[in-house]
Assembly symmetry: C2
Homo-oligomer: 399 residues x 2
């Protein structure tokens, strides 16, 4: 008789709701033909990677020795790569970022796991984050016995509900997790939001006698519209740890490259960094994939091409709001978070699925009245989906 | 004041002893010149990847659409890749292996972590393994609160010390971890060893009323000499889980591709598989790196080129034994595990370091009287090291 970790067995059997829909979409596409399905389920970027990135793959493969290309790197990643990234951020943000405080990981997910592990000093330690939130936070926070605590949303403009935050923080709180530009709302936190958050955390850290970190999960940092600039959090709060990924910026989510970066101004920065390195080690991290490290060393200053996303955003936002749907216009990322005309996101998602439109129930993100539309797809998919969205809301209104 | 996970902080600060020596070697090379140092510290393969593998990189990058190359794959990995691997094993071993029981991971380390997580049903659950063993087993077994239990070595021929095993297994034992071809001894378990092990585990599983798994960690499966063939463990024991990596076979340790494979004959195979998938999810696994998945789909039947390792093995084994060193001739992998002429491996490693020869103290692997020489280096390094080894043993004898 097998005796297994029941939690693991059920997590493995269930998958995330998003992945579940994605897998359904893949098999439904094979069955009905890909052009029948409008799959808005997954944040799998549709914009091609920048041409220079593609060229960097060929250049690295042609010019480097196999051992340099494919050999182990240091656990923290090639210093050259970390320096290229740190220098690019330092220039971009006019704020010094040091390569020795950067630990390359296999994507932001692994960075978050390592950071949650590092910051959990006792079982039951809490990580507070705001609805709507990335559902895997719950899973990742549990890795060392921590707990993710969802703070109610500000569903009007998706900034922070500070009143709810103040009452959520207690002596067990280790960090507040933020995600701006936000998945799934597309909101970008303003400078005022970050400043107010920093003020509250300074006060609470003093009150409870230990540091409360900001863990800022920002794979969408460069994916913004209309000249919006996300504030660089380390400028406003010393005890900040950034979790980053190149998945969305360069449309390479399969390549699994990201990092955890400790603000040089953080108290006891070296020990925090070591705890993250130790967290990564416990989770089976040996080094981040090597070839893509070389590629990023050559591409650290490249920007994403936002043309397709900007176009898709306009098409969907303009048309859906005209049809009567309610949603905030996203300032970043590539998601629309739309209020369900059927009361619940689950009902909307189910009815849409019947019309071969795949959208994710907002309950997944802690906001059960919404659905998420990931518009990182071909523009033709957005255009093709409009009649179905129109029929859906007519049906919803008629009810 | 930061409140951190002290275990993580100390693991991150300490690094593994092997990695520590590797980092020392890198900085010492810069200081003294690379041709002064004989760095036998790390299992970073020196043989170039097969030419066909290199060609597969260019072919995949040139022929596939960016989204297929670099997009998310299923969490378990591309089905096409898993099928190519499973088919190759099925042919090679004349034993059916199914792609749906294979979960691609970021290297064998991540596979081991996910498996240990999956099999730990209560804190303190035990994983037994034989000295000499890969030291990170201790760290990885701890991920879900499990404990690695070292079983005394058979230091004569590095098969299994069955008497010690019988007394190490108890009601808390979840699995026995084996590693053949072995790092660091180079031993390959015989068919008789596997059969005897299987017999004991069947008996103990019945006795304790729960399955005791074999977790077989075999990144060196194809790296064998003189026609030796490692027995395929699933043939001899149903409840077997293979943890594999392409790091050593194709000299691509930086690329982080491996898998966990549940034997189709395992009891409740699907639930075991789901628990491993859940374990991976908790540890921040999203998917294995995508480009290398495409490359392996095209290269699953390629064999490693053993020419350099075979040559290095001869040079070191013949010369060192002639000088008076004691070691078993390795049948696989690319390590010599040499008895220290100075009583302890620590003393040998320290004295060798003074002569710019980097070898790892066997205490790291649970055998404190030995050192490990990783001969996956250029042949010139082996040749260059001989005078220093000669001086060392003369000094040792003279003591």
């Amino acid at each position: 008789m097998p005796t297994l970790n029941e939690k693991a067995a059920s997590l493995g059997a269930s998958r995330s709701a998003i992945r579940e829909l994605f897998e359904y979409g893949k098999s439904r596409s094979l069955e009905a033909g890909g052009d029948k399905i409008c799959d808005f389920s997954l944040g799998n970027p549709s914009a091609p990677p920048p041409a220079e990135l593609r060229a960097a793959y060929f250049e690295a493969l042609s010019s480097l020795a196999p051992k340099d290309l494919h050999g182990y790197t240091s656990a923290a990643g090639d210093f050259e790569t970390r320096k290229a990234i740190a220098d690019a951020i330092t220039t971009e943000e006019s704020f010094e970022v040091l390569p020795e405080n950067m630990f390359l990981t296999t994507g932001a997910a692994a960075a978050l796991c390592a950071v949650f592990f590092a910051l959990t000093s006792s079982p039951g330690d809490e990580f507070a984050g705001f609805s709507p939130f990335f559902p895997e936070y719950r899973v990742f926070a549990g890795v060392a016995g921590g707990v993710f605590v969802a703070v109610s949303a500000d569903t009007k403009n998706f900034q922070i509900n500070f009143e709810a935050l103040e009452s959520a923080i207690n002596e067990k709180t280790r960090a507040v997790v933020i995600n701006s530009p936000n998945n799934p709302s597309g909101a970008v936190y303003t400078k005022e939001t970050i400043k107010t958050l920093a003020g509250i955390l300074k006060k609470k850290s003093a009150l409870f006698g230990h540091t409360i970190y900001i863990v800022t999960d920002e794979p969408y940092r460069e994916l913004v519209y209309g000249g919006v600039t996300p504030p660089f959090v380390p400028k406003y709060y010393d005890d900040t740890i950034i979790c980053y990924s190149y998945s969305k910026r360069f449309s390479i989510p399969g390549e699994r490259l990201g990092y955890a970066l400790v603000n040089s101004r953080a108290s006891d920065c070296r020990r925090v960094y070591n705890a993250i390195a130790g967290g990564a080690r416990v989770l089976g991290h040996v080094c981040a994939p090597s070839l893509v490290q070389k590629v990023i060393a050559r591409s650290a200053r490249l920007k994403p091409d936002m043309t397709v996303y900007a176009k898709n955003r306009e098409i969907l936002y303009e048309n859906l709001t005209k049809m009567g749907y309610t949603c905030a216009k996203p300032d970043g990322a590539f998601y629309l978070f739309v209020k369900s005309p059927f009361g619940s996101g689950a009902a909307f998602s189910a009815k849409a699925k019947e019309k071969d439109i795949l959208v994710v129930d907002g309950a997944t993100f802690g906001c059960p009245e919404f659905v998420r539309i990931a518009y990182c797809v071909d523009t033709s998919v957005c255009e093709r989906s409009l009649p179905a969205f129109e029929e859906l809301i007519k049906g919803g209104r008629g009810k």
